[in-house]
Amino acid sequence: MQRPIWSGAISFGLVNVPVKLYNAVRKRTVSFHQLRAKDGCRIRLKKVCPADGAEVPAENIVKGYEISPDRYVTVSAEELQTLYPQANRSIEIEDFVLLEEIDPLYFEQSYYLLPDKGAAKSYKLLMTAMRDTGRVAVARFVLRNKEYLAALRPAGLALSLATMHFADEVIPQEELEGLPGEETAPTDRELAMAGQLIESLTAKFDPNKYRNEYYRRVMDLIERKAEGQKIVARPAAEEGAKVIDLMAALEASLAAVKKKPPVKERRKRASAR
């Protein structure tokens, strides 16, 4: 079961919809621990001062911002706390916009919003209205002491929330070198050909078509190692299902060979015809 990572309310105008926030994405990454090679002792990292080698306990560590090489302004946790955005536990909708107006570059992390107790009806109402008008809500909210811009939209049976980059975080294209200029304008004929090529490769987007092969291979390796098996440098190329099919094909092929009359007999029959 998924556990909520935040709870609060969507608010716009006078309407308030209590909701809970859940992760919408489970990253398939493999994390390893660091061990000493010879005996598997788990490595612990110590925070030390390189000048005297002494370990520095957490209570003696402050944050420092490097203003010039080796010169720092220090900031305490208390000082930072006074600056935190007010955690008002609300997702404040500021505008409703069309989804296609938001460049996907802006999207950061995806979450699901689910209705909290007693809010199912107003939640459903908001979601249905957004779907009918084809609009996406742009909102602000505070999560873990940080203010986020977010886009809310219906996704399947639930509302989804995607945190968004602020405009000044997206690198302006004026900073890019090598953008194509006027001189590279394609001819109509070239465009027609490129259009045909795209047409021929056009498909419906199916996320299940694309697999994270690296993750699968790493986990496969780990599972086999855990079972104490010999590890090969490269896992078998075949999927499990495909191999079963090949076995069935082999079985069928053998059965067919068995039934076939000897070559001599077949020749005789052929010549008799």
Partner: protein, 302 residues
Amino acid sequence: MPAKTFVRIADQELALSNLDKIFYPATGFTKGQMIDYYTRIAPALLPHLAGRPVTLKRYPDGASDDFFYQKECPSHRPDWVPTAPVWSESNSRNINFCLLADTPALVWAANLAALELHTSLSLAVAVATPTMMVFDLDPGPPATVVDCTRVALWLKEVFDHYGLVSLPKTSGSKGLQVYVPLNTPTDYDHTKAFARALAQLLEKRHPDEVVSRMTKALRTGKVLVDWSQNDEHKTTVCVYSLRARPRPTVSTPVTWEEVSAAWEKRDAAALTFEAGDVLNRVERQGDLFAPVLALKQQLPSL
């Protein structure tokens, strides 16, 4: 200073060391006897080593002591021992394998205490093309080589159906191996998938006798049909290689008649050959494994 003995083999002079060192304590078989074996088996063995990357399994203190695998040909090799670079994905670099092309090179490797020679199923010039397919039949105790003989005969039956020649050899250790000569264009995806499917089919037909997965717990009393040796990155013990066992046993080619007879009589000893036995056999019968290098065959398309 360890005692050195200088010998001249073909045109090369070699310094051999510790010839009196006992390599097999159970029988007193010495390093000198081991080098003598490799010298005398060379005419049969060398064609099977020719052009193939070889991994040296070295036992500096004899068969019952520590060993290490050496893929990278030692840098102190004589300049007349050629090497072949083979790309290693896991190391992200070329590994220069030794090529043991003649008797002096073989004796040089034997003097490094390379008791066991493990070769690729490919030639170094075409590492992605296996020239043979192999099934390594490994008995999970209390199963023995006798149980392997029956599984080998089941494999043979399948290949007979397809009109393909297959050849058995002892592993020289506990099991048997069945080879299918190919020597035609193919790749490991193909041979491995076929081998795996066949192993699974045998497991399905004979669930009490055969297992196709490596998991140790599944193997008790059954024969593992190890299909996974059909891999570009793996090596399998070469025919005529000694094995590091209590006695100087050898991976020995046998006839199917011998395999059948061992099964009928439940006779494991009939499939155990030591260095001396193997020299006698080769003198009488020649190289039973020659077809593995010569016969051109293709796996059936399914």
